[in-house]
Subunit: 243 residues, 2 copies
Amino acid sequence: MSEALKNSRALLFDVFGTLVDWRSSVSRSLEMFFSAPDTQMLVPNDTCWETLALDWRGRYQPSMESVRRGLREFVILDTLHRESLEATLAEHGIGPLNDSQLEQLTHVWHRLDAWPEVPDAMNTLRRQKVLAAVSNGNTQLLRNLSLYARLNWHVSLGAEPARAYKPQAEVYLQSAAMLTLEPSQCMMVAAHNDDLTAARALGFRTAYINRPTEYGSRQTHDRGPTSDWDIAVESLAEFVDYL
Amino acid sequence: MSEALKNSRALLFDVFGTLVDWRSSVSRSLEMFFSAPDTQMLVPNDTCWETLALDWRGRYQPSMESVRRGLREFVILDTLHRESLEATLAEHGIGPLNDSQLEQLTHVWHRLDAWPEVPDAMNTLRRQKVLAAVSNGNTQLLRNLSLYARLNWHVSLGAEPARAYKPQAEVYLQSAAMLTLEPSQCMMVAAHNDDLTAARALGFRTAYINRPTEYGSRQTHDRGPTSDWDIAVESLAEFVDYL
């Protein structure tokens, strides 16, 4: 086992993109939703579900930015997802949807498929390390995702308990504090170099899982490690081999 | 093992009184603080340290009540402890203390001794169950307490992440959600009947640990179980025997 992994008593997992394939799941959910008899006439015929999913996700970082800058009180990700959905639908000329339909669509982020190797790998890791989700998702979203996608972590921490959004330092530090661990005893596991950069600056160990198609075949960023992370692998199964 | 304990994947621990003897620890810390050359003249000669500790703690429930009733935004327990300290000192004619001294005294709640059997019992329980602190204490307080008193839980949840104070339902429900468990898969362990009453009403399993001297020899409440809790024992060591 690598020294960094041996010294890590907890593994802190980013979730969207790292453990689950949100792009395929959200695209499929949008397609299913707008194929129903009562919703299909609300959508232009040439709507591309993947583009819709990517545009919705495109509003993710900007939506958190007002909280990070203190321009807005902390609100949970479900709230931001709902606002971003409404803006995305308007942009694509889709609608009008009623409140219950908007709520239903917002909750597609609670049912995302894991990357194929993830559930088994987590069950193996769980026997040796404390596994924590450290995500910008809210607690109920993470709870539902854990049940749906069989993401068998011990506990979800992250944005909602810290009332801040990664890469704000509080999210990482509060998570370590809740585990009664020093940053150096925790390894952040993520498919995003900027998540690991923030964690390393605070003293956390780092592991990069490559997900070069998270955003589809034309993805331009996070197609490989951009720094000398403690571990860099192509899948969580490969990560397990480090044990 | 009892059926209720067998079905409990996590044990949720109340902390003050259940795992730690705050009364002796706070009394001793107050005595030590006011025995120093620069502080002993601030205190009336006839001050009883235990009375001072009990009076300070006497403001604990009332201080949380304004948050519970929504009259005040959630603030962490360190803040309430500090306010209660200032009121208690004024009532006893003690002071004036400067800001750094008040801060130092507020933090005596971060260094409380465990009841003697607790650390070993927790280390045994930890091998079979997920252990979580579900306390009204804030995250940093619980982190420091865990290190000081060797309270080896996996994670601290409770009031600060839920932004509510027990016995408000959110505290119990949010803790279960963070563990991806149903209330029926969690057992609340506490020395206080009202804590268990609130948890049971939400579907949690319950274990009562008797601490009849938590408030001293003249304690009138919580001198034994007042309901048919799933488990009722005289110590955490006795609880371990149920495994």
